[in-house]
Point group: C2
Chain length 115, copies 2
DNA sequence: AAGTTAGTAAACCATATGGTTAGGTACAGC
DNA sequence: GCTGTACCTAACCATATGGTTTACTAACTT
């Protein structure tokens, strides 16, 4: 739908089947059949997921006889991670605020004990 | 569709309108009207995006008279960033391989010069 | 040459998504 | 109590998504 690269990457990776495929590919190249094995779904369905991943640039495909092995292409994941990094300060911030709250609670607790 | 938390987070964030809303909310709380302003789309459409973001736990909503202010909730973004971190080694690895390649090219170049 | 294996393409289907308009609810201010 | 503002719901529509089955192509095997 939206076809900017980041949206492409994120929506590709928003599907658990496709994330599992990526996880498998961290172990090394794999054929379509190998990739399909763990899933309770038809080979063409897996093919479609691979097309989505390839379209997002998250995998690339080779050729070896009648096999078309898939390989992980991590660059676009790096870009997505960079986008998320822009928000890191906000969860760090809430941790800081939580720490502050815990500090105040502890102080209050110690004051209560000392009374 | 897939309703595990990570899929919810990633598909919420896969839409550029919703990412823009999140970006706006890093500046602080905002009303629906304020959030809708930059977009060339109806208020109900923005409302739907807010529902998706809220459903994914990426924002929370308050109440102030007839306003229903939205506030960023970064925790789920942190979880998504953690998932992506699992792949960090792979883009680091390709950088390492690229570095190695550049090293070899440079060495070859220097050898060529010295001949 | 015939058969088998790996993968893709096409047609189809159900449901999800992202938008619209029209109409409703809740609160504030005169 | 009426009016305007802010927001939400409902109904609808077009397109996207995720799956199926069936049929095809390409390459290896015998």
């Amino acid at each position: 739908m939206a076809h900017d690269q980041l949206s492409l990457t994120l929506s590709a990776v928003a599907d658990p089947t496709r994330r599992a495929i990526l996880a498998r590919l961290t172990q090394g190249e794999a054929s379509v059949k190998e990739l399909a094995l763990p899933f309770d779904m038809s080979i063409p369905a897996v093919c479609k997921h691979l097309k989505v991943l390839e379209g997002a640039g998250l995998i690339s495909r080779g050729r070896n006889a009648q096999l078309r092995p898939c390989r992980l292409e991590p660059e676009r994941l790096r870009e997505a991670a960079q986008w998320l990094d822009g928000y890191r300060q906000f969860w760090d911030e809430s941790l800081t605020r939580l720490d502050g709250l815990l500090d105040r609670l502890q102080t209050a607790d110690e004051e209560a004990k000392s009374n």
